[in-house]
Amino acid sequence: MGTYVPPRFAYRPAAESRGHTGQRRPVAIVGAGPVGLSAAIDLALHGVPSLVLDDNDTVSAGSRAICWAQRTLEIFDRLGVADRMMAKGVTWQRGRVHRRDAEIYSFDLLPEGGHRMPAFINLQQYYVEEYLVERALQFPELIELRWKNKVVGVAPRQLGAELTVDTPDGAYTIEADWVIAADGANSSVRRMLGLPFRGQDFDERFLIADVRMDAAFPNERLFWFEPAFHAGQSALLHKQPDNVYRLDFQLGPDADPALERQPDRVMPRVRAVVGESTPFELEWCSVYAFRCARLEHFVHGRVVFAGDSAHVVSPFGARGGNGGIQDVDNLCWKLARVVGGRASEALIGSYDEERGRAADENILNSARTTNFMTPKTRTERLFRDSVLDLAPHAGFGRALVNAGRLSRPCLLSGLRLQTEDADSGWAGPVPGAPAPDAPVTDADGQPSWLLNHLGGAFALLCFVSDEAELADCAALKASAVSVVAIASRALSRAAPDVLIDHAGIAHARYGAEPGTVYLIRPDQHVAARFRRFDPDAIEHALLRASGADQSIRSAA
């Protein structure tokens, strides 16, 4: 079944498997899923070479992750793959929640304009991986992809790890200073290191089916509690490219997975949703029981876990793949600084701290949704049904309906890299929040997007209103950051690199006044912000955020 023809990536015997001693690698990445591939690209953009080992030679079987959230798309944009994804994906921002046959309410995930990226696109995971592989191949000097290379052993060393790799031509070993374990939910690296993966198992079974059909469903997320077509349970529908629709059916805890994935069981369920008159074909289906679990720590010596190997969630809320890409965004600039000798290893500890918080948030939200969908006691069901009874009549009831809390970036406020505000009462993103996008005009007078000028390196985003402020801001360039100046209107004298906030959206979103400075991390998160140019305070915040202030912290 299926219309998508997965690419096959060529396996080549590794020099090491023919008896050569492999050269030691700065970074080895286990797994070429969305997370491992994104990590290789992000590291390459920082100039760090990596070796990617994958046990397979193709992309994800089945569509799996389909919903990619705004923050993830902003990261993919920084990695240079978002345009293709946007061109292929189905853009959406509205969700509708039904009970029985009536809509209880709908929500808009991005009511305001002025962002380059939409709230969500739906795009099959196999396309995402295919595009990431093609992007990775644009860095032949920096990224080596080895297919059908299965990691079967990991031996931690004091300053790195030795991997044993199995290939069609036999096994070899290779050493790396750092290992990123991006080998998915059943991570063998995790197992080989004997690390417990604790969490909550849900008994409920879900049927997930992708069907191809010419149907007139809108570009929206449609959710049903107790629909007439699937009595007593819940169902979810998403539109994907190529006329493919994702259907999720709750089956109850007693469903037999082997039986329920049989086409003669699946087809009538689909038929009940799409109606008698719409022809459809089954592309892919599977029956799942979900789990929310995480490693207690994501960093174990020189082995760093990212994506599903570090944490898994139930899929309601699309927090799995999105969370994994956000791990990469957080990790790679730090790893690049450490590998490049510009920061101490302690900086990697902040990855554990920051993404640990994000994993907890993702697990909490997706577990709550799953619980809401699958009440386990009579009382729990009474509360759930009462919320649904009240929802059409009361806004507070709609607020409690939990049909999915969709992936949002985690706020990293109060964690060790961020500097607290000195001034209070400030609208705009707090330290630890992702920097919001805004439409701007670039130095050549072309329409552009603010986020395309941030990220990759530390940046000072300086809101200036005259040449004097511009000069102050240029002086800050001395420290190892890029300076991005933005003004409400063009400055009179030649001010080559100033972005113009013609619509005032950036000033509004950042609560900016003339002289406002934001210190933006390489992952486009706010590290600190200042009401006026204060070179000492800025320098201090930069040292802290970049992991270069060991002396300051140990002295404090």
Partner: protein, 72 residues
Amino acid sequence: MTSRLDVSDGFLGRGDDVYEALIRAHEGLTDDESAALNARLVLILANQVRDPGAVIEAIRLARETGPPSEKA
């Protein structure tokens, strides 16, 4: 009656926390114990509202939004 029942979302972004706390409060209770817990909770919240008129309106809303068999 002068009071007006406010049914807009007043959870300040913490609705899911409150819902989870409610569900957890019932863990391990029998149905009768749960019903009694709910009754106590209703009385506590009815007092906390400080607006008897709104409480009476709330009672009416609860009565009217139940499944058909329970409706007055």
